[in-house]
Amino acid sequence: MADFLSILLISLGLFFFLVGAIGVIRFPDALTRAHGAAKSDTLGAALCIVGLMIKAGFTPVSFKLMLIVFFLWTANPTAAHMVAKAITVKKMTEER
């Protein structure tokens, strides 16, 4: 049962990773690429690592994976926001 749940969560994570990769190719502008890439990437990584936590059980490995999930949910959207803000500032200074 735990193996089945782990396989289901990791498969969902891989699906979100694939959707994010296709979105990075197909979107027309840099800001739309940042918008589509950040959310799907964060959700896919979190789902994959939660599936690995279910596979590991109550071990120190599971605690380290939980720390990775918490840091990634904080860091990845802020990194995407920094990139989008830099693109916007650069575009405004070029048009001036």
């Binding site: 990773f17 990075v24 490995v61 994976l65 720390l67 990139v83 500032v89 650069k90």
Partner: protein, 88 residues
Amino acid sequence: MDKFFVFSVVFLCFTILICMYRVVMGPTKGDRMIGINIIGTKTMVIIALTSFILKENYFIDVVLVYALINYIGSYVVTRGIATSKGEF
């Protein structure tokens, strides 16, 4: 279960190849930075999966350090993009 983990690693390498197109051919520096962030996150998941394939516990520390380095590098390069001059 190990076969599924190996399949997951191969699939993630395929999506990294898809994102590498945007890193190489991206018209602006912001596009390249977005692709680099995605590739960093996918390599974190690949290292975690190989930790479970090889049954070695200390690869998880590598994943923690890689997450920190990825964020700091993204911050530094983004500051460089915002204050750069010339061709964007």
